[in-house]
């Protein structure tokens, strides 16, 4: 393997991985010989798509946090809980572990994801001198924790089906639920569509060692 130097990229050799079956292919062939998918050296439009999805998600994060996500009735009294007041209510009831789990899944993770992806996309778009290795580790974390935000929606659906006894005891989702579901969906897709190889092409090579 003397020809393969330390920092050589597949693009320089005219090689690419098949996007669906990960087989090494010569780019000139245009289609993967194993599964027939269309080959691409880079997906340049993925950056724009990712930005568009991310900005939409960031905007939807506002209604997701302002409007009530659950409407709970107990003995004639109705509470409208936003994500945040729902969690403080759990703290008041002294159910701290659940409060921590829901805080992480519903508030910390979505915000971390949006901030993280914004840093990531800005670094690619404006060639910021941030360590690529750190960006990539952050990106893997974002991809992995993102799905845990679904937790709150599952809890809402279980509670709403179980607890409906009119004025005595009743739980139902509030308008923030749809916005929150879309935030999870859009951020997840934004991370998925991005061609991360662009990061390694665009930033200065001196950051490589970081």
């Amino acid at each position: 393997m003397s020809k393969v130097s330390q920092k050589q990229q597949g693009k320089d050799l005219g090689l690419t991985l098949c996007p669906s079956c990960q087989q090494l292919s010569v780019y000139k062939k245009r289609h993967c010989s194993r599964c027939g998918s269309v080959l691409a050296l880079r997906d340049d439009s993925s950056l724009q798509k990712s930005w568009a999805l991310l900005i939409t998600a960031a905007i939807l994060l506002i209604p997701a946090n302002i409007y009530p996500i659950t409407i709970f009735t107990s003995q004639g009294q109705t509470r409208h809980d936003t994500i945040f007041t729902g969690i403080t209510h759990l703290v008041d009831l002294n159910i701290i572990p659940i409060a921590i789990i829901l805080f992480t899944a519903s508030i910390a993770v979505p915000i971390l994801k949006i901030v993280g992806l914004t840093i990531y996309l800005t670094a690619i778009s404006f060639r910021l001198p941030i360590s690529k290795k750190k960006l990539m580790i952050g990106f893997h974390i974002i991809e992995w924790i993102g799905r845990w935000s679904m937790l709150d929606l599952f809890v809402i659906s279980i509670t709403a089906a179980l607890v409906n006894m009119g004025q005595l005891l009743d739980a139902r989702p509030g308008p923030a639920a749809t916005a929150f579901a879309l935030v999870i969906l859009l951020t997840q897709v934004a991370a998925k569509v991005l061609d991360t190889r662009l990061l390694w092409d665009r930033l200065e090579s001196k950051d490589d060692s970081n």
């Binding site: 050589q8 990229q9 005219g14 090494l24 194993r34 107990s74 789990i101 599952f154 809402i156 969906l185």
Partner: protein, 208 residues
């Protein structure tokens, strides 16, 4: 600069496109990209019969896990129960159909499709791979495998069942149903199945 593709001693990193020379790995070890730490490959080994057994077990639990109640609520002498699907329907009936679709897809449809897809793949490999029609089916299933895996969120649903129990115990009595047991078993068996299953190994079988 051109490169001969038949050379299988070289691979690329899917995240950063670095050229990497492949080396033989001891079993249970993963190769990571030296530049960006993405998982590159591991020693692909899976036992087809073991996976078949796990897959059938999971399918046996799948139906009761979705049809039997996962939670029971006892309140002033009356009993309410809910299944996963009823939970989704309850939100849909109140107009939150995006939430309902998200719940249905990640807790019922994607896990179900995943099991059926893996079962079909195993049966094709075990019995009649050489027919072109089945090869084509296998290729299609493998191409959709990653998407289905990402959509399937049994582990998150499992935890949300327990969170609901804790949240509601303050107001009323909550009991776990038979469905909870089946759901937990479905989750565990699927977890083991996914640990056994290696998509690279499946693709390699097509090559042979």
């Amino acid at each position: 600069m051109e490169y001969n593709c038949a050379d299988s001693s070289v691979t690329l990193c899917r995240s950063c496109d670095l050229v990497i020379s492949k080396r033989a790995l001891p079993s249970g070890v993963r190769a990571l990209c030296p530049r960006c730490h993405t998982t590159l490959y591991d020693t692909p080994y899976c036992s087809i019969n073991g996976m078949l057994a796990l897959c059938l077990t999971a399918l046996i639990f799948f139906i009761p896990a979705n049809l039997l109640p996962v939670l029971e609520l006892h309140f002033l002498g009356s009993i309410r129960t809910t299944t996963t699907i009823e939970g989704a329907m309850a939100v849909a009936n109140q107009g939150y159909w995006i939430v309902a679709i998200a719940v249905l897809v990640s807790a019922v449809i994607a896990p179900g499709l995943l099991l059926i897809s893996v079962l079909t793949q195993i049966l094709i490999i075990k019995y009649r791979l050489n027919v072109p029609f089945f090869r084509e089916v296998l290729k299609r299933l493998l191409r959709f495998h990653e998407l289905i895996t990402q959509l399937s969120m049994l582990e998150i649903y499992m935890i949300s069942i327990f969170i609901s129990v804790f949240q509601l115990t303050d107001y009323t009595d909550i009991y776990l149903g038979m469905g909870t047991f089946c759901f937990a078993m479905l989750f565990l068996v699927t977890l083991f199945l996914q640990r056994e299953y290696h998509i690279e190994h499946m693709w390699n079988i097509i090559d042979e």
